[in-house]
């Protein structure tokens, strides 16, 4: 439930106490999706423990976005189920969506609203109280370093600012699970570290974050769990230390995914 909280504060703390460790924050089983003749996701099963900071990495076109869309109720899977804190996303979509904050990648925003109006809209759509929305909007804008541009239309924002305002819209209702698809794309380093500290304290207070990315260093530093996805399949999953098995995450990733061409050839490119 998105019951208004008495002390709205940033970072948004998940509503209610975290459940007993047994119920994963997100549990997907055999998710599969086909677009025409192309199989985008080929039976992915994954458990994201509550309270974890979970990274999903994979090369371009691996099926990360498709998987996350199916897990969050934006794209109907051909096969498989997705449970958010035990609530079936596709059987009980409205209840499941209350538990989730979603930052989808590659969708437009209602960009003729000002930044402030857009976050307010996201809060009011979720049936939140006007006063709570107003105070959280102010804090979110300050935390995202957007207070100066709160009255500017989102259509006039830069790519990084757009990402941040979309993230703020996903946080407004203090979800228990945050699913962020490529949250750091085009975001400047200062804002990125602000966002990371918001997410860190969110996780510390019991929330769960899932981010997809192809920046391995970032995932290795930020996340405690990681899943490697390629060609629509899950190649490895577990804690970051388990998955990287002593190597750096980047080397392990390349080893798992394959396709690394050794630096032979292209001799003509050497300038000396």
């Amino acid at each position: 439930m998105t019951a208004p909280q008495p002390h709205p504060a940033l970072p948004p703390t998940p509503a209610g106490p975290p459940p007993g460790g047994a119920v994963p924050a997100l549990s997907i089983r055999g998710l599969a999706k086909r677009f025409g003749t192309k199989i985008a996701v080929d039976g992915i099963s994954l458990d994201v423990p509550a309270g974890s900071f979970y990274g999903i990495v994979g090369p371009n076109g691996a099926g990360k976005t498709t998987t996350l869309s199916m897990a969050t109720g934006l794209l109907r899977p051909d096969f498989g189920t997705a449970l958010v804190h035990g609530v079936d996303v596709w059987a009980n979509p409205l209840e499941a969506k209350r538990l989730m904050g979603i930052l989808p990648d590659g969708v437009r925003l209602f960009d003729r609203l000002t930044g402030e109006q857009l976050i307010t809209y996201a809060g009011l759509l979720r049936g939140m109280d006007r006063g709570v929305v107003a105070s959280r909007v102010g804090e979110l804008l300050a935390a995202m370093d957007l207070a100066q541009d709160a009255g500017t239309l989102v259509v006039d924002y830069s790519a990084g600012m757009t990402k941040k305002i979309a993230l703020a819209s996903a946080l407004i209702h203090a979800p228990r699970l945050l699913v962020l698809d490529e949250p750091f794309e085009a975001v400047d380093p200062v804002s990125a570290s602000n966002i990371r500290s918001i997410l860190d304290s969110y996780v510390a207070s019991g929330g769960t974050v899932i981010v997809s990315s192809h920046v391995m260093d970032l995932v290795q530093r930020m996340c405690d769990h990681v899943a490697v996805v390629a060609g629509g399949r899950l190649l490895a999953a577990g804690t970051v230390d388990e998955v990287r098995a002593g190597a750096s995450l980047e080397d392990r990733f390349v080893q798992l995914v394959g396709g690394r061409s050794h630096t032979e050839g292209l001799e003509w490119l050497r300038t000396s």
Binding site: G73, L75, R108, F110, T120, A122, R126, D149, D156
Partner: protein, 523 residues
């Protein structure tokens, strides 16, 4: 290199068509339309060959000048220039300027407007094939004229590129350009009146134009035919100089644009103004209504349909004042009601993938439907009431007011109910967010037409009771049926409104993800 650029343009066109068979259907309709117009013009130009010298020369020069003017003005006005070969995309390739210019200019000929202009321009050769010399001169003139068209449009679009890429200009020009388009009827009538009043003036006007860059190229054939090689030579110089001047301007502008890409930023503004969100109740329904109202006022795609309504009144008033009866004015109310109600029948298509926010927040389907319908209702009720009542002040036949009011309100409410269902279920091709309202939308043309006409047909069925009562009133002359109509229109309209919002809401909840998937295709 020029051949490469031309091949690139053709490949882009072909790949665009490959995306969906419906795209081909759309292009085919466009081409059919163009073939009709081009065919008519070509035939007219060939027929002109048999007319007197003065008529032919006047028509060719005026038409040609108009074509050049159109190529110069239209791309700016609708801010939808053909940007498939946007010069800025070649910045990093170090294409030699001379070849880039030639390639882009010839590339401008590929596409429906370019081919159409070229065909009609070349048809002037047929007009002047009264002798080998005059035909040859007409051919030179036509080639010069066609190139002038293309180059002028290139100069204008390059010069205004940074202006045209600013959002504010796009928003305003898109809406402002609608005004002459809607008022085309009265304008054409006015111009036609002016022309018939001063028919003798046209040949003089054409003669004067022939000495300007607009008409010089088009007058070559006529001058040679009239045995004035001296004048033809001078005009050839004018036309060639025009072309050279335009090429030079384009080169300079392009060189500057390539190193100074347009900057489309705006100042930053502090928050504190929630606008409609502060005025409407803080519920999901209220929020959707506030968002929709904000879009009605800020998005040119919605603003465009708002500006049509008062212009429609002007057009109808003009029509009525031309005829002997003002009775036609009483159509204004029901017509406005229809246009307003039907305008939200593609609301989710207008949202495009921004609709993902509604899906992600899990807003109830009925809240989504009702919010959008209420926003439209807030705007349209005052307008529909005014446009229904005011015409009777002119006609004075007040006994018809209750009946027509019933039809207007019935149309508005039933239409909103139907729109709520249609936009929840069908995704149709509309201009993308941020595009000009005139831009050819990507996507499924066939389904769009099917949904639009099918929907209007169903709406016609839904208002049969109100229409029937109006007919009964006109047959019996009994004003009771007018008052009955007012009651029926309100009651039936409200029922259909509620039913439509309910059904639409249920469908939207069931098929939200499928709607989003369809919208993603047209992104």
């Amino acid at each position: 290199m020029v051949a490469h650029l031309l091949r690139l343009k053709l490949t882009l066109l072909r790949n665009g068509l490959k995306r969906s068979p419906w795209q081909i259907v759309g292009i085919a309709f466009g081409a059919l339309y163009a073939v009709g117009i081009v065919g008519a013009l070509v035939v007219a130009l060939i027929m002109l060959g048999r007319e007197s010298h003065e008529i032919a020369q006047t028509a060719v020069v005026l038409g040609g000048s108009l074509a050049i003017l159109g190529w110069g003005l239209i791309p700016v006005a609708v801010s939808s220039a053909d940007m498939t070969l946007d010069p800025l995309r070649f910045t990093t390739f170090a294409v030699p300027m001379r070849q880039l210019l030639a390639g882009l200019a010839l590339g401008g000929l590929i596409g429906i407007p370019g081919v159409a202009t070229a065909l009609v321009g070349l048809a002037t050769v047929a007009t002047w094939s009264r002798g080998i010399l005059s035909a040859g001169a007409a051919l030179v003139g036509a080639v010069l004229g066609i190139l002038t068209c293309i180059l002028l449009s290139k100069v204008v679009t390059t010069a205004t590129a940074s202006l045209a890429s600013s959002r504010r200009f796009k928003d305003i020009s898109g809406v402002v350009f609608m005004i002459p388009l809607i008022l085309l009827g009265p304008i054409v009538a006015g111009v036609a009146q002016g022309i018939t009043a001063s028919a003798g003036f046209l040949p003089d006007f054409a003669r004067a134009l022939a000495w300007t860059p607009l008409g010089a190229a088009w007058s070559l054939g006529g001058d040679v035919d009239a045995g004035q090689p001296g004048a033809a030579g001078l005009k050839l110089l004018i036309a060639a100089a025009t072309l050279a001047g335009l090429t030079w301007c384009w080169k300079v502008l392009l060189e500057r644009a390539l190193v100074n890409p347009p900057y489309a930023g705006g100042g930053s503004r502090k928050g504190g103004k929630l606008g409609m969100f502060a005025l409407l109740p803080p519920t999901p329904t209220g929020a959707v209504a506030a968002r929709s109202l904000t879009y009605w006022l800020r998005d040119p795609r919605y603003g465009g349909s708002l500006i049509v309504i008062p212009l429609l009144a002007v057009v109808l008033f003009f029509q009525a004042s031309q005829g002997d009866s003002l009775g036609v004015l009483s159509v204004l109310g029901p017509l406005t009601a229809f246009l307003m109600a039907w305008s939200i029948s593609a609301d989710i298509s207008y949202d495009n993938t921004a609709f993902a926010l509604h899906l992600a927040t899990g807003v109830r389907g009925t809240a989504d439907r009702l919010g959008r319908a209420l926003a439209c209702l807030i705007l349209s009720v005052p307008v529909v009431l005014a446009f229904t009542v005011v015409p009777f002040a002119f006609t004075g036949s007040w006994e018809w007011l209750p009946g027509v009011l019933g039809l207007s309100l019935g149309m508005l409410l039933s239409g909103l109910g139907l729109s709520s269902v249609v936009s929840a279920r069908y995704n149709i091709a509309v201009p993308l967010p941020g595009d000009s309202p005139f831009k050819k939308p990507p996507g499924n043309v066939g389904q769009t037409m099917l949904v639009q006409f099918g929907g209007m047909g169903v709406l016609a069925l839904l208002v049969i009771p109100e229409a029937a009562l109006l007919i009964v009133q006109s047959v019996t002359g009994n004003p009771f049926f007018g008052w009955l109509n007012l009651g029926v229109g309100l009651a039936l309209g409200l029922v259909l409104f509620v039913v439509g919002v309910r059904i639409g809401g249920r469908w939207l909840e069931a098929r939200g993800p499928e709607m989003l998937a369809q919208l993603t295709v047209n992104r």
